[in-house]
């Protein structure tokens, strides 16, 4: 069960950012009492709660484990309860984080009004909000899924008018559907100004019988968004899908009602088409889009492709086939219900196999967010932190190619020294707008060993203990730089 006390404890993270006081003080202010020592895993290896809190969040906050364990009598049942709540983010009060985001008023503007802002302002606000949510949102699994889908349906703010409309893309397309139904998400993406700009759908026009449609979106729809490159489509299918989608466009900044998505019948190829063996009759007009999306969303290759990508993100860089099959089946049986699909993933044998715990390397954004979360740091996600994301090669909404940021560990080991530099600058308090109190953290856990056990989600090894003991003032930076903290 969840007590008011636990809710308040959890809320302290966001509160402190609002009030400017330390995390412990914030809690004390609310409760008027000393909070109990937070829980840590006392075993030498991760247990299920530790694995779940590490793999499915942007890092373990000092209060996370105690809050999870309080949900039920045994750790495993408590872990289940935590997952169920996280799969239904609407049941989790996130008002503290939402208040932090609401201060960034540009992010709440209606689509057309976004054009009133400078591009760099929107880029900064969206980047900062993305990091703040990763650090302070209590809907951690939802945040993880938002990142996943922003990679899967990648757009780049440097292309065309994506600079303005991507704020609406993240807010109105990705976030509402991240744990919803895949077909709804796919349709929202297909009809979003950001995707129409990013993959040139807006200029896919067929005005006479000899005109050649723009294939860009059609190809990536099949290859990246749905079936996968080996999913059984041909070049002919790409061209037929491009014909089906011709005529959809979006009004640009020089027009009245900027950002409005509309269908131009005179730019649509209204002849008969065949997509993946299914006939789409002539004269379908704007209905062609829904026919195409239905065919691809329900194709068996799509279930497998999405399942493989989810397993790669949440299980292992090379997930076992059995796990992919299991998740693909849940996707199919539930008609693409993403919460049920994720539940199948999290309950799979592969996800729960201790051999796979801490097998994933945190990608740089995850790493930076987890440094802030794990230490209960206060941050306004200012430029100095964001600059490090750039150095680490992992700025959200700025990846140029439609395959999204890579998921495999090897893609990210080249900037390891920058992770250490970040750990140093962060722990030593050298990042403007970001504060961490290492001593308070140790006080909170009662000892350095317990603090290390929190950061590693297990007891430190002798080698780790020795390194931290001899490190003096650098201990926190070294713990954050160590290979155990690089993984999740």
């Amino acid at each position: 069960m969840i007590t008011r006390r636990h809710l308040l404890l959890g809320g302290g993270v966001g509160l402190l950012a609002l009030t400017g006081c330390g995390p412990q003080q914030a809690v004390d202010l609310v409760l008027g009492v000393e909070a109990p020592a937070p829980a840590v895993n006392t075993a030498a290896t991760l247990d299920l709660p530790a694995h779940i809190l590490r793999r499915l969040t942007f890092g373990e906050h000092p209060d996370d484990r105690a809050a999870l364990l309080a949900l039920a009598k045994t750790p495993d049942i408590a872990a289940e309860a935590w997952v169920v709540r996280q799969l239904h983010p609407e049941t989790i009060d996130d008002s503290v984080c939402e208040r932090l985001i609401r201060r960034r008023e540009a992010l709440a503007e209606p689509l057309g009004e976004l054009y009133e802002f400078k591009e760099r302002v929107l880029l900064h606000e969206l980047t900062a909000a993305t990091l703040l949510r990763a650090v302070y949102s209590k809907r951690q699994l939802h945040e993880q899924l938002c990142h996943f889908w922003n990679d899967h349906f990648n757009v780049d703010m440097s292309k065309g008018e994506c600079a303005w409309v991507t704020v609406a893309y993240d807010r109105d397309v990705i976030r509402p559907h991240a744990l919803g139904r895949f077909s709804d998400l796919l349709r929202a993406v297909a009809l979003s100004p950001a995707m129409l700009w990013y993959l040139d759908g807006r200029v896919n026009r067929v005005v006479n019988k000899d005109a050649k449609p723009n294939e860009n979106y059609a190809r990536e729809l099949l290859e990246l968004h749905t079936l996968g490159v080996d999913g059984g489509y041909s070049q002919q299918d790409v061209m037929e899908v491009a014909r089906c989608l011709s005529g959809w466009t979006v009004r640009d900044q020089h027009q009245w009602r900027k950002g409005l998505v509309e269908f131009h019948r005179d730019a649509h190829d209204d002849g008969a088409k065949t997509v993946l063996g299914q006939t789409i009759a002539a004269g379908g007009g704007e209905r062609d889009l829904d026919q195409v999306l239905r065919i691809v969303a329900t194709h068996p290759s799509t279930a497998r492709h999405v399942a493989r990508k989810l397993c790669t993100r949440f299980i292992a860089d090379n997930p076992p086939t059995a796990a992919i099959d299991h998740v693909a089946q849940a996707f199919t049986v539930s008609s693409g219900d993403l919460a049920l699909t994720m539940r199948a993933l999290i309950t799979s044998d592969a996800f729960r196999d201790p051999a796979g715990f801490v097998a994933k390397l945190k990608r740089p954004f995850h790493y930076v967010a987890s440094c802030l979360r794990a230490t209960a740091a206060q941050s306004n996600a200012g430029n100095e932190v964001i600059d490090y994301l750039g150095r680490l090669g992992h700025l959200p909404f700025q990846f140029p190619t439609p395959d999204g940021q890579p998921e495999n560990a090897e893609a990210w080991t080249g900037t390891l020294l920058w992770r250490w530099r970040f750990a140093g600058a962060f722990a030593q308090g050298n990042l403007a707008g970001t504060r961490v109190d290492g001593d308070a953290l140790v006080q909170r856990f009662g000892s350095r060993t317990a603090t290390a056990a929190h950061l590693f989600a297990r007891q430190p090894t002798t080698k780790e203990s020795d390194a931290l003991t001899s490190a003096g003032a650098n201990a926190l930076a070294i713990a954050l730089g160590s290979p155990a903290f690089q993984r999740c």
Partner: protein, 365 residues
């Protein structure tokens, strides 16, 4: 062989071969591309049929001097027309092979005197897929990436915990070792030789300046004799479905000015360097309704330096309908591995089958 350097410039996104090496002498070219075709006489003349794109004119000098080979209709056996699949295939050098072809090349030529950690470098944020399987490989974009003003106590402690880690140990050790080796280079003044002028942001745009800076760093590594055998430098963003000229102009500028400055900078050292420029595929012959081109097959390849004989090379399949592939693409008349092999041989490779197992031909060819 131990002082030779191979520089691979991968044009990611599918560079339009018919713009880089424009067949201005073919009527079919102008019919298929009423708005996008390069106008005859505006580029650098290669022969009676071809011209280099006007923005590649700085490379004309190297062609005329016999230092630049130009190969049209070059590509792989990929017919998915997927960027990512085609890039993977070209990075790996075959369908069912282990690691990348440059990784196999480096293993094959191991023992011929490489100096270790700076033997294979990607001037970018991650080690290139083509280097997978190399005895050692490292990625960085600038000397800053490899330290200088670091907190040494922190770096030491982090490395002590990391070295030996199955995933992070080798990257950590490589980065730290390279950092030490590059200290001298970091202190040395950074002046291009022989009056070479690399592209600048103000004059040539950010894309060209960034590409030029990575080429300049490559030249410094070559000039400093750090044992560089392979350098990978990507030039991204060639996917020109929409208003192609706007998309590719900054990249052509980068390629033309950047490579020309690099060759000038190297001076006589260019004789021991080969620069190979490839892309995963070329683009559709006919332009689409949005002044762009869609994914195609055969594209362009350029080879600059001492490892090539210069001039127009390879077969040309022509652009008439009978010779086009699929939806209207330039046929791949010159497999990229056929083109690479003579270069790799000059850089010490001796076993073609081991490099490209599913492109079997005699080692003697």
């Amino acid at each position: 062989m131990n002082d030779r350097t191979l520089v691979l410039v991968f044009l990611r996104g599918g560079a339009d071969g018919l713009s880089l090496i424009a067949p201005v002498g073919e009527d079919a070219y102008h019919r298929a591309r009423p708005t996008l075709a390069v106008k005859p006489g505006t580029g650098h003349r290669l022969d009676e049929r071809f011209e280099l794109h006007p923005l590649l004119k700085p490379l004309g000098r190297w062609f005329d001097e016999g230092k630049l080979s130009v190969i049209p209709a070059c590509g792989s056996d990929d017919d998915t027309r997927s960027h990512f699949y085609a890039q993977d295939l070209m990075d790996h050098g075959g369908h069912n092979v282990s690691g990348g072809w440059l990784g196999r090349f480096l293993r094959q030529t191991q023992g011929s005197g490489g100096l270790g950690v700076l033997e294979a470098v990607t001037l970018g944020s991650a080690v290139s897929e083509s280097l997978r399987g190399a005895p050692t490989a490292i990625a960085f974009t600038s000397l800053d990436d490899l330290g200088g003003a670091d907190d040494h106590a922190l770096m030491d402690a982090c490395s002590a915990l990391t070295i030996g880690d199955p995933l992070l140990g080798i990257p950590a050790l490589s980065a730290l070792t390279a950092s030490g080796r590059l200290d001298a280079l970091r202190r040395a003044p950074d002046h291009p030789a022989h009056g070479a002028e690399y592209p600048t942001s103000t004059q040539h745009g950010d894309t060209a300046a960034d590409f030029g800076a990575r080429l300049r760093l490559t030249a410094r590594l070559i000039q400093a004799g750090v044992g560089l055998k392979v350098a990978c430098v990507d030039l991204d963003g060639w996917d020109s479905h929409f208003v192609q000229d706007t998309v590719i102009a900054p990249r052509l500028t980068a390629l033309g000015h950047g490579l020309s400055a690099f060759a000038t900078d190297l001076g006589k050292d260019l004789d021991r360097v080969s620069v190979v420029v490839i892309s995963e595929f070329g683009r559709r012959v006919a332009e689409n309704t949005s002044l762009g081109t869609d994914h195609g097959r055969g594209g362009a390849c350029l080879i600059l330096g001492g490892g090539t004989t210069g001039g127009m090379q390879g077969k040309w399949p022509g652009l008439t309908t009978d010779f086009l592939e699929g939806p209207g693409d330039v046929a791949v008349a010159n497999d990229y591995r056929e083109v690479l092999w003579p270069v790799l041989k000059r850089h010490g490779a001796n076993d073609r089958t081991a490099l490209f197992p599913d492109n079997v031909v005699s080692n003697a060819s």
